[in-house]
Amino acid sequence: MQLEQQLRDKLHKKDILLMTHIVLGYPSLEVNREVIKQMVENGVDCIEMQIPFSEPMADGPVILKANQDALAAGITVTDCFTFAAETVQKHDIPFLFMTYYNIIFKYGEEAFFKRASECGLKGFIVPDLPPEMGESFLALAEKYQLSPILIYAPTSTDARMQELATYGTGFIYCVARRGVTGKKSEFDQDFDSYLARCRASTTLPLAVGFGIQSKEDIEALKGKADMAVIGSRTIRLVESDGAEAVGPFIAGLR
């Protein structure tokens, strides 16, 4: 089933969806496995799995360190695909890959799409690939029926948002604020008018990410966004309290 439809079906039953982020191989694939299990059992609706890259330009200190440590521990792109195939089999929610474009480019774009499709992944988030640079990428996304998740930022103009919407499928990832992943975001009036602009520019569901950390944050997004994205927060939680802490944390978010 297509990603957008899957999310819409879930939206009939919940007033806001949850997407979480994990960095593959950090601290290990075994821990990733346990964290994903806890996330799914506690109602997470979609998971983005990051293939580590040595130069994660859009990520803040927490995810940057996770990328570096995972690579130092020896994770490879092949491992990530094997893990993705296993995970998609096991859990009945949509899974996406998040990574930087060089990982895809180096693997070979078409080979990457083919393998991702075989694994049952639903789409890709690639923060350093604007549509202007992604002509062949977007054509392959169409061919393999995988969703290219386009990104909106508070600095995007209305015209730019409309343009981006024409390339995206699945949902739009609205970056909550300027900056990198990890730091807290303020959900003030400016933010509301930004989300209203996002909503007006596309019919796709809206996910909001960057700096979402608590039940209050998610509460504040209800009625304005369709999906909240929790990234660095659970990575930090696993670091401090172990994988077992993830389930109760997720359960307490909605």
Binding site: S54, E55, M57, G60, D128, T155, R178, G179, V180
Partner: protein, 409 residues
């Protein structure tokens, strides 16, 4: 550069969406400057009054005699204010920043020369300034860190990854996406997302424009070869650009061979088979990376050449075989530096010494009525600690120990 920022197969602008609007504004302002003859005039005036343009072309009589081949001329970018070609780019971008009305500048730096130039420009133009510098480079280029701070810049040591130039670039991008509204990122070399490669090469093209005029005046005909060291590629593009349409001028870029081309500890992107096409730091070029696309660690005694990527313009000229690429090891570079100091009383930066080393290997084979130009991109003063260490200089060591004792009292 084509519409999308490519030079042949290389370049582009692989940027996060947050920066899209800022790049639109930058591209528009840059296009206006290129069309406006007053802008270039303002630039020339600034460079001749605040810096030392035109920089001299020095005839290296003793080196010429020593090698017994073509006449050796040295383009003296070391005599620019702040001691390197980096000022050409920075002052140009400074004028652009003034036009765009931004109040803060950030920059990455490897050797510290680009950071120095940016801190200088920020002081002169009244801008806030933050410089990102790999922790390893902070240690090996300490004098420049001192001067940047004295001019009011904040220098942030970057502790991630290989703690060198590429990591400083990542961190500068992270700052930029956070503070994009009031901040301009003064990119230091002819790399990064479009329009930076072309824009930086444009400001640096002053080097080649002057050199061509000077060589005609002193030598009476075109040169046979032009040598430049290649880190990101800005001083090389700066001197090469004017000669690209001179079919008889051979252009040679000299990369850092570190401990040797087969050692795995080098920064040779174009003259060894170790690099492959990739996309990182906002652009497509030849990168030193593994099969998965993870960037490798590089090594060079020269911090400014110790980098995984290279200008997309140079990758294009390499692919089209218009520029030949060679490399020089750390050891060859020290020898070239030594001989240049003794023969000419000139101290090139370790980066620039690569161009000298590359030229010295070949110049003896050229006819005596030919001439070559070596681009001396910067002066070696900043490298005093590294060079003294490499020469294992006893009196310098004693001085450091004594000073250390004094400070630790």
């Amino acid at each position: 550069m084509d519409q999308k920022g490519f030079f042949g197969n290389w370049g582009g602008a692989y940027i996060p969406e947050v920066l899209h609007q800022t790049f639109q504004e930058l591209k528009e302002e840059y296009a206006r400057c290129r069309k406006d003859p007053d802008f270039w005039q303002e630039y020339l005036t600034l460079m001749s009054t605040y810096s030392c343009r035109p920089t001299p072309l020095t005839y290296a009589e003793n080196l010429t005699r020593h090698f017994g081949g073509a006449h050796i001329y040295i383009k003296r970018e070391d005599l620019n204010h702040t001691g390197a070609h980096k000022a050409n780019n920075v002052m140009g971008q400074g004028l652009l920043v003034k036009r765009m009305g931004k109040k803060r500048v950030i920059a990455e730096t490897g050797a510290g020369q680009h950071g120095m130039a940016t801190a200088t420009m920020a002081a002169k133009f009244g801008l806030d300034c933050t410089i990102y510098m790999g922790e390893e480079d902070v240690l090996r280029q300490r004098p420049n860190v001192f001067w940047m701070e004295k001019m009011g810049a904040t220098v942030i040591p970057v502790k991630d990854g290989s703690r060198t130039l590429k990591d400083a670039i990542n961190e500068a991008f992270r700052d930029w996406v956070t503070n994009v509204d009031d901040t301009h990122y003064v990119f230091g070399t002819a790399c990064g997302p479009a329009p930076f490669p072309e824009m930086v090469a444009w400001f640096q093209s002053i080097i080649g424009i002057e050199s061509a005029e000077q060589i005609m005046q002193y030598h009476g005909k075109m040169v046979a070869r032009v040598y430049a060291c290649v880190g990101g590629g800005s001083n090389a593009m700066g001197i090469f650009k004017r000669f690209l349409d001179e079919p008889n001028v051979e252009l040679i870029g000299v990369e850092a061979a570190g401990h040797g081309a087969n050692s795995g500890a080098h920064a040779i992107r174009l003259s060894s088979p170790d690099a492959t096409p990739g996309v990182a730091q906002g652009y497509k070029t030849m990168f030193l990376q593994d099969e998965d696309g993870q960037m490798k660690h590089t090594h060079s005694v020269a911090a400014g050449l110790d980098y995984v990527g290279v200008s997309p313009i140079l990758s294009d000229l390499w692919e089209k075989k218009r520029v030949r690429f060679e490399s020089a090891t750390d050891t060859e570079v020290m020898q070239a530096l030594d001989i240049t100091m003794k023969q000419e009383g000139i101290i090139p930066a370790l980066e620039s010494s690569h161009a000298f080393a590359g030229a010295f290997k070949e110049v003896g084979q050229l006819a005596k009525d030919e001439a070559i130009i070596i681009n001396q991109s910067g002066r070696g003063d900043k490298d005093i600690f590294t060079i003294a260490h490499a020469f294992d200089d006893p009196s310098w060591k004693k001085f450091i120990i004594d000073r250390g004792m004094e400070y630790s009292k």
